[in-house]
Symmetry: C2
Subunit: 147 residues, 2 copies
DNA sequence: TTTAGATGGTTACAAATGAAACCAGTTTGG
DNA sequence: CCAAACTGGTTTCATTTGTAACCATCTAAA
């Protein structure tokens, strides 16, 4: 009889690892600022790119548009971002972080980098290369935007 | 000003990849049998090990005990598994797949293996090795049970 | 014993999510 | 022009999830 060994099954390993990393990482934005993951990603997207539309945010950070919509609404409620309607196309809104939003972003960036550094701290140079190239290979083979 | 590049940030890449893989993989158990992920994992755990307790299931497949509890309840409702109280400790229940549950498991196993094969199909031998060792390195550095 | 604390598992409640319907506004083809 | 189809974004509803509280049972220490 054919058996599946869950522990070595790639989709399961990937998910469990991502889940554990993500859970740990969420402390940075959740414990400190009470943000959800979509809210954090929205902040990160705007912090990185300055001004974006909701659609662009969804594409950049791989979120469904309902998640983006809700995250934007919440950040707006906090006055961490503002919407500016597009001149030409009135369906579109341009989103930008306020001073407060930008300040929160700036405060978190070093923490996120430290987190990543710590995560890789125990690994050898070869192992890090392995992760980089392994992920890249899977991404091109699967993630639509990267295909 | 310090910026975080989301696209190359490890936690984000991991999560997005796992999410995409998982979403694709879920077709096997969701579309065909209407199972949720916890239900699928429960099935997979019992298929692999024969008989387990809820706690053991949670440990093996990295699920919170409420997820396990609900998944077990649903699989029991479908008559895909049965509970047998422990003789010595009456808090514990031993879970086993029924014939129907086992049949569903047996039907899915080849599909899951084919999925994994396809996922890796486009990659070179080096890339596969890279994934294996990269994940392993991160796992030992992070996932509690593997630490 | 008795009792305080652990442990296996369930439940209640609030929050997060996804799918689909929806409401502008915009483009396209006749 | 004008309707059909499309697009950006929001809302609704059902389902899933996480946290915490909760039973019941078991263990250990006084």
């Amino acid at each position: 009889m054919e058996i599946l060994e869950l522990e070595t099954f790639l989709p399961y390993r990937l998910y469990r690892l991502a889940d554990a990393v993500s859970r740990e990482f969420s402390r940075i934005y959740k414990d400190r600022h009470g943000l959800t993951r979509p809210e954090w990603r929205t902040l990160a997207g705007l912090g990185q790119h300055g001004t974006m539309t909701a659609t662009a945010l969804g594409e950049q950070s791989a979120m469904h548009k309902t998640k983006v919509s809700r995250a934007v609404a919440e950040l707006e409620r906090r006055r961490w971002l503002t919407r500016k309607p597009d001149e030409k196309d009135r369906r579109i809104e341009h989103l930008t972080l306020t001073g407060t939003g930008l300040a929160a972003y700036r405060e978190m960036v070093p923490l996120t980098k430290a987190f990543e550094r710590d995560l890789l701290a125990g690994l050898s140079a070869e192992e890090r290369t392995a992760i980089a190239s392994g992920l890249a290979a899977l991404e091109t083979s699967l993630v639509p935007s990267k295909g």
